[in-house]
Amino acid sequence: MNLDDNEERPSLREMAGQAVRLARATKWDEFVIENGIRLAGMSAIVIIALIFFFLLREGSPAFLDIPLRQLGGSRWYPIEALWGLLPLLYGSILVTVGATVIAVPLGLTTAVYLGEFAPTWQRELFKPLIELLAGIPSIVLGFLGWVTLAPLVMRLGAPTGLTAFTGSLLLAYMSLPTIISITEDALYAVPREYRDGALALGATQWQMVWRVVLPAARSGIVIAVMLGIGRAIGETMAVMMVTGNAANIPELGLGVFFEPVRTMTATIAAEMGEVAQGSMHYHVLFGVGIVLFLITFAINSLATRLVGGGVRRRSGGML
């Protein structure tokens, strides 16, 4: 039978031509789309490079024109051109250390409870609730800290409610969701056989958790703590509202937590709005931004290295 004789269907020749045109069009579309996707894939690298570039562009005069000895000084007093970064670094570190000391035990314990002890209904209720906490804007928590927490801290006997301790409390609460959810993932990744083995050997649930599950999840827990610290050191608005913003370094002692401090983030947020563009103050604030960028970059890169490079792939991926 000759198909070319059949009048109701297009000829073989026509069909072949159409197929070729279709394939060509598809190829062209796909070429554009697939390369677009490849470009989008690279975007993260481009963006991080751009961020660093623009921070350097605006911030480098600070490091080039101001002697390092001055930047390492202990007085931040822009009006007299005193650019000592130490009090700001001190404020950020103090508040972050305080937050870590509070948040890590609470966060790890909560994750252990949710992962190992809680009945299913509680897990299903509490996990979304913790996500909700992560979703509350930091300015709202800062506002709440400002109107409720600060007066409480003052009642504890501090001369003012706006102290490093107030900031640490608030930051601890804000970094809890990060610590809890990453620790929980780490606990979840511990193979069931470990638990079964421990229980079969007669361990109690607590012994199993303490001696088997937690050590097995160790690296994940370290990552959770590091990312929690990263979250705390970069927090801006809430900290600015409750730490009192005094750029000084008090004498060391446990009392330091009940003095006002000023963090790097709060300094940028509070002062950038008022400086003349291109002034030394402007450049130094970008310089503080560079310091913050480098600190968080180091923390996150280290955490990624601890994960062991690539993220586990579950399925998917073209053949």
Partner: protein, 281 residues
């Protein structure tokens, strides 16, 4: 002390600590709700502030936040989903892919105030967009990108490999497979990630401080090159910068902001739960 007893005590302590952490979340939300609900009225939601912001409403700030969130969506969604498709379907296990992943983790970890500085340096000054909705949206969009990428990638990877195998074996090209098999099944997960990311962007203050936010601007913006008020910054202003603000207005503003952001989180969670129940594989 017997180990059973230790076990009991440990269990009890762990439970107590967990509740100590979790219950205040209820309290925080309830407290703001309780104190703010009195300020909510039709006037509060639809009128501009008056009398040095001590009276009237917060309408320009609400609208400004909506504009900024839409702008963020436009900036973050195409790039984020594109990057997620690349990572899930195209990227090989090589140095470039590892560099991309490292970059995403670091983008997620950069403090929001540093994004604000970057937005000021690049969009406001270098590209000369001025303090504008455009500059603010782009800044927020880049900040949201890592959330969108990682959740969208996860959603794409969750589509079973068999779908791809069958599609490819029927002669579909790689893009056809992605377009018609992978993306439709990953869509609910992608939407969840996008909403979560946008919710976070809507509540951010630090990135918009120097890029778009106006202290007081009763008129609505006319174009993307105008400044606008925004809820998070407005809350900051009325709680710390304006003396004599009635506390009820501050709580009311905090409540509206919290409701907007939390409702987005809740919607995202509902979509995700529904999707898990309905999944056919």
């Amino acid at each position: 002390m017997s180990r059973q007893r230790t076990n009991e005590i440990a269990r009890w302590l762990i439970t107590a600590v967990a509740f100590l952490v979790i219950l205040p979340i209820f309290l925080v939300i309830a407290y703001i709700f309780y104190n703010g609900i009195g300020a909510l009225s039709w006037e509060f939601l639809t009128q501009p502030p008056r009398q040095g912001m001590t009276q009237g409403g917060i309408a320009p700030a609400i609208l400004g936040t909506i504009f900024l969130t839409l702008g963020t969506a436009v900036a973050a969604i195409p790039l984020g989903i594109g990057a997620a498709i690349y990572l899930a379907e195209y990227a090989g296990d090589n140095r470039l892919t590892r560099a991309i992943r490292l970059a995403i983790v670091n983008l997620a970890g950069i403090p929001s105030i540093v994004y604000g500085l970057f937005g000021l340096g690049m969009f406001v000054l270098f590209l000369d967009y001025g303090t504008s909705i455009l500059a603010g949206s782009l800044t927020l969009g880049l900040m949201t990108l890592p959330v969108v990428i990682s959740t969208a990638e996860e959603a794409i990877l969750a589509v079973p490999r068999e779908f791809r195998v069958v599609s490819l074996s029927l002669g579909a090209t790689r893009w056809q497979t992605i377009r018609h098999q992978v993306l439709p099944h990953a869509l609910p997960g992608i939407i969840t990630g996008v909403i979560l990311g946008l919710g976070r962007a809507a509540g951010e203050t630090a990135p918009i401080l120097f890029t778009v936010a106006a202290f007081y601007l009763p008129d609505l913006p006319r174009s993307i090159f105008d400044q606008t008020m925004a809820l998070p910054y407005h809350l900051y202003v009325i709680s710390t910068q304006v003396p004599g603000m009635p506390l009820s207005l501050q709580y009311g503003t905090a409540l509206v902001l919290m409701l907007i952001v939390l409702s987005m989180t809740v919607v995202a969670t509902i979509i995700r739960t529904a999707m898990r129940r309905r999944r056919e594989w």
